[in-house]
């Protein structure tokens, strides 16, 4: 009863606010928006309490909200897995609302801002209801609402041509995802005769494989698994930062929820699925971080890191499938928990990074990290919060990212138990690529933090930047504390839920770190020289160095770019004009380095061209008079009747 109340209250608040904001979209003022955001924050807390209760007590909750027909209904069933993802969604959403209190007033028109709040409200509730859905109809319905509202939010700065292009790209991709999901769901309905999300049994392996592929592509597009990832960098860099945090922190996790739900509970996986999922995950992880290293647009950099982290989560799911198919339940559980825990961790630290990045972009007015620098001195709180996010995503102990990556390492390292030598070789190769990913992520965040926050400012805007308002510090601070606590108390957390995992007790290790620090500090106080003085950076005797002499982001990632050149496929173009015929007196010239957009040029554009050609052919058929259309209809009806007769 209590749970019903929580659920319905939260629902009403979100829908009511969305409705109110849309009705008064031109009239509502900043005060109204503020009220709406506070109410959304409260509703998120209601859902947080609701889902926490289910996760901790391992209970279930069901509610039949509305029935269109017997088959098509909006009904919800929240079990532990669903509640866990609802926990992630409500936590990050609440924090994003808190952040928006300060953030949203900085940009845009009054109407635009009201519309954004309305869309945010619908977006959050649709994600919660997707996860809660107990049938594919309601799942797909809210999935579409999530896609549409997020599309409108990406369009927030619609006056920029770049934004419109990104939003359109995102829209097409997200519709593709829905189409593939619909294929899968209809196929499941065909097999079981109902829209309920329940296990599918007694179907042929071929049929099951087809359903799996369809769902994998559908969820893969939304999650940003390579090669379906291309919308992420576009959409994330175009949308406002609070929305990027929600999209990257939570929305792509909804796709992960779908993947886990269908792979673990609905379909009975075959062994090759695990191998395929693992390979896709590994490539997403490695290529995601490699592409992130070359980005200087901080939001695109973070978007590529989302692809990397989704890759890591998918690696966990792949390992689960492989171990499960060989019957190693302990290892399978470890891998699945690693994937799920990394989903939560990534939601926390990626939202933290996006929110603090939003503050930085607001303060400096640019997304290019080459134009930042020295911000830790003017924005100390934002800087330290970003650092905590960077340390967590780089998987350094004792933060949360470390724990989930350690679990995946453990699962990989123990894969020698599997009998099949070829699979073992694939797993060990996967392990080495996973290690590469993790090390490159550390390199990338040294670059990001170092270039944004350290050294001298590289532009006038960076020099004049100011620390942001309280709500824009408080919101990421909550996430930062979460990152630390989830890491330090991970062992206790899992044992309290009855899982004893082979992970170090980071509380003890954290304690040892602190004691060692105290001892070292004491020693240095007693023995070391305490005096210090200020001076100039040493520059081989050059007096008055300036920020132009600092190391740049391009310079920082240059060695890695050179080593991985076969992956980037850089093209160097140079044109030179000369004053004389003998080409000895140089007049002017241009030089540029382009990175080859492998996925766009080899996959997306060819597919788009094919579709274009096909639609050209079809559009030729359209250029006719009414009689011919009637003929078309007649032919269609005849084919339909024949087909039905043949099928029945």
């Amino acid at each position: 009863m209590m749970m019903n109340l929580l659920f319905v209250c939260g629902l009403c608040v979100f829908f009511g606010l969305a409705l109110a904001q849309i009705v008064f979209v031109t009239k509502a003022s900043a005060v109204v928006r503020r009220f709406s955001l506070w109410a959304m924050l409260l509703a998120s807390i209601l859902f947080l309490a609701f889902s926490l209760n289910i996760v901790l007590h391992n209970s279930t909750f069901s509610l039949n909200l509305y029935e269109l027909t017997n088959d098509l209904r909006f009904s919800f069933l929240v079990d532990r897995l669903a509640a866990y993802f609802m926990l992630i969604i409500s936590l990050v959403s609440g924090v994003a609302c808190l952040y928006s209190l300060g953030y949203i007033e900085h940009n845009g028109t009054n109407t635009g801002k009201n519309f954004l709040v309305a869309m945010m409200s619908l977006f959050i509730i649709s994600m919660l209801l997707i996860v809660a859905s107990d049938n594919t109809f309601s799942f797909l319905f809210f999935w579409e609402i999530m896609s549409l509202t997020s599309f409108f939010m990406v369009l927030f700065e619609r006056e920029k041509p770049d934004t419109r292009k990104s939003a359109l790209f995102y829209f097409v991709m997200t519709q593709m995802s829905t189409v593939f999901l619909m294929f899968g769901f209809i196929a499941i309905h065909h097999a079981t005769g109902s829209f309920d999300i329940g296990s599918v049994t007694g179907v042929s392996p071929f049929f099951k494989g087809a359903v799996f592929l369809s769902l994998f592509i559908g969820f893969g597009i939304k999650a940003g698994i390579m090669p379906f990832h291309k919308w992420l960098p576009y959409a994330h860099s175009a949308s406002p930062s609070n929305i990027s945090a929600l999209m990257s922190g939570v929305m792509i996790k909804v796709a992960i929820y779908g993947l886990v739900r269908y792979l673990v509970f609905v379909l009975t996986p075959d062994r090759w699925w695990g191998v395929m999922v693992l390979i896709f995950g590994t490539f997403s992880a490695v290529l995601g971080v490699i592409y992130a290293l070359k980005e200087h647009d901080i939001k695109k950099l973070l978007a590529y890191h989302s692809i990397e982290n989704i890759g890591i989560i998918v690696i966990g799911i792949g390992l689960y499938l492989i171990f499960q198919s060989y019957g190693f339940t302990d290892l399978a559980t470890l891998a699945l928990i690693a994937a799920l825990f990394h989903s939560l961790n990534h939601a926390l630290f990626k939202s933290l990074l996006f929110l603090t990045t939003g503050s930085v972009i607001n303060a400096t007015g640019t997304r290019n990290i080459e134009k930042m620098g020295g911000l830790i001195k003017v924005m100390p709180y934002t800087g330290i919060l970003f650092l905590i996010g960077a340390v967590s995503i780089a998987a350094l102990p004792p933060f949360n990212g470390f724990v989930s990556e350690l679990m995946i390492f453990q699962a990989f390292l123990q894969s020698f138990v599997i009998g099949n030598p070829f699979l073992k070789i694939i797993l060990f190769l996967g392990l080495s690529l996973f290690a590469l990913t993790s090390a490159l992520a550390a390199a990338c965040f040294v670059k990001a933090f170092g270039l944004i926050f350290l050294a001298a400012p590289r532009s006038e805007e960076a020099r004049k930047a100011k620390e942001v308002s309280t709500s824009m510090i408080a919101a990421p601070a909550i996430l930062a504390i979460g990152c630390l606590l989830l890491g330090v108390f991970s062992f206790q957390l899992f044992s309290s839920q009855g899982y004893t995992l082979p992970i170090p007790n980071l509380m003890v290790i954290g304690l040892v770190l602190i004691i060692t620090l105290a001892l070292v500090w004491l020693f240095m106080r007693l023995v070391g020289n305490k005096n210090s003085r200020k001076s100039e950076t040493w520059g081989c005797g050059i007096i008055s160095q300036n920020s132009k002499m600092e190391y740049t982001a391009s310079g920082f990632s240059e060695p890695i770019l050179t080593i991985f050149r076969p992956i980037y496929r850089t093209r160097k173009k140079s044109e030179r004009n000369f004053n004389d015929a003998g080409k000895s007196i140089f007049k002017d010239g241009t030089a540029e380095i382009q990175t080859f957009k492998l996925f766009e040029e080899r996959i997306y554009i060819p597919v788009a061209n094919f579709v274009q050609k096909l639609s050209n052919i079809i559009s030729n058929l359209h250029d006719v008079d009414l009689d011919t259309y009637i003929l078309y209809s007649f032919i269609a009806v005849v084919i339909l009747i024949l087909a039905v007769g043949w099928l029945i």
Binding site: G374, I376, V391, A394, A395, L396, E405, L406, Q410, L413, F416, P421, K424, I425, F428, L431, S432, A435, L436, A439, A442, A443, V446, K447, G450, F453, L454, A455, A456, P502, P504, V508, I509, V512, L513, T516, L517, V520, M524, V527, G528, N529, K530, N531, S532, R533, K534, S535, E536, T537, W538, G539, Q545, E550, Y551, G555, F556, E558, I560, I563
Partner: protein, 311 residues
């Protein structure tokens, strides 16, 4: 309680002998060049001298520059608990976990690279960039080496690995010999030695590690130097404990602990001499030639895995 005794004993021992190995390598290199070289206690004198000097900070620096020496030494010292040299203690809180050990070292490296960028000097930035590149490219090799060891010794915990290798005669195992080559390359890379990095140059375009700590001075520099020395010792200890574990004990009493300490000093000195000779035989190689060296190490360790799998 017993773990606290172990922690104090092991840490004190490691800190005490680390500078010795640093000086010994320098001494060997000097001999091969026909010089006398510094006295064996030179590194101790240098650390004491640095402790008494004031620190100089650049105007550009922030708090990162100030906290990094502490973070470095703390991470390296806690990582040293994962590598027992006086005796192998009982398992506690997962301290021997390989991943924990490696990531504590990455933690130190992460902040050192940030500190390199902090002063806004080109040298520091160059050092950080190269250090992170090299460490990223060597990481798959390190993991595969430990995966191979895990496959060989059937455990992913350093304490258990050392115990197993202590109780068996792994030295004559061909797989161990293959792994030892990779482990040696890792030791060279992670301690910033020729042919990867040149520990003796200052302000050359070849340097990596020295460039990052160029802005450090006084007692901060003492901490950075000490943590580098300790890191070298514990990486040497991983090599020694797996390949030539004789003398190490898992049943501590006054006698066995002192035997294991003394044997470790002897083995460590032999290894340090070997490192010194190795360094003298090679020239610093180009940065972009390094992946070839790492591929070699990767090949050795991966062939160990193949060998073990097909056996």
């Amino acid at each position: 309680m017993s773990f606290i005794i172990y922690a104090l004993l092991n840490t004190a021992f490691v800190m005490l002998i680390s500078p010795l190995f640093v000086s010994l390598i320098k001494k060997v290199k000097a001999y091969t060049q026909g010089r006398q070289g510094p006295p064996l206690l030179q590194t101790y004198y240098m650390l004491l001298k640095l402790l008494k000097k004031e620190r100089v900070y650049s105007d550009n620096t922030s708090l990162i520059m100030r906290i990094t020496p502490y973070i470095n030494i703390v991470c390296v010292l806690v990582a040293s608990l994962c590598v027992p040299v006086v005796y192998i203690p009982a398992q506690i809180a997962g301290f021997g976990s390989i991943i924990l050990f490696l990531y504590l070292l990455v933690f130190a490296k992460f902040f050192m690279a940030l500190a390199g960028l902090d002063a806004g000097s080109t040298f520091g930035g160059m050092g950080s960039s190269r250090e992170m590149t090299v460490s990223a490219v060597i990481e798959p090799v390190i993991i595969i080496v430990f995966a191979a060891l895990g496959l060989l010794l059937k455990t992913t915990n350093l304490y258990d690995m050392f115990t197993t290798s202590l109780n068996s005669s792994l030295f004559i195992n061909p797989s161990t010999l293959l792994i030892s080559l990779s482990l040696f390359i890792i030791l060279i890379v992670e301690t910033a030695r020729i042919p990867v990095d040149n520990p003796e140059t200052h302000l050359e375009l070849t340097m990596i590690h020295e460039a990052m700590i160029l802005e450090y001075s006084g007692s901060d520099l003492a901490m950075m130097e000490m943590s580098h020395a300790v890191k070298q010792t514990i990486l040497m200890a991983v090599f020694i404990n797996i390949l030539i574990p004789w003398g190490l004990t898992s049943a501590p009493n006054a006698l066995t602990v002192s035997i294991s300490a003394v044997t470790f000093i002897i083995k460590g000195m032999v290894l340090a001499v070997a490192v010194g000779f190795f360094e003298s035989m090679f020239a610093k190689s180009r940065l972009f030639r390094l992946p070839n060296l790492f591929m070699l190490a990767f090949f050795f360790s991966f062939s160990t895995i193949l060998f073990e799998l097909l056996k």
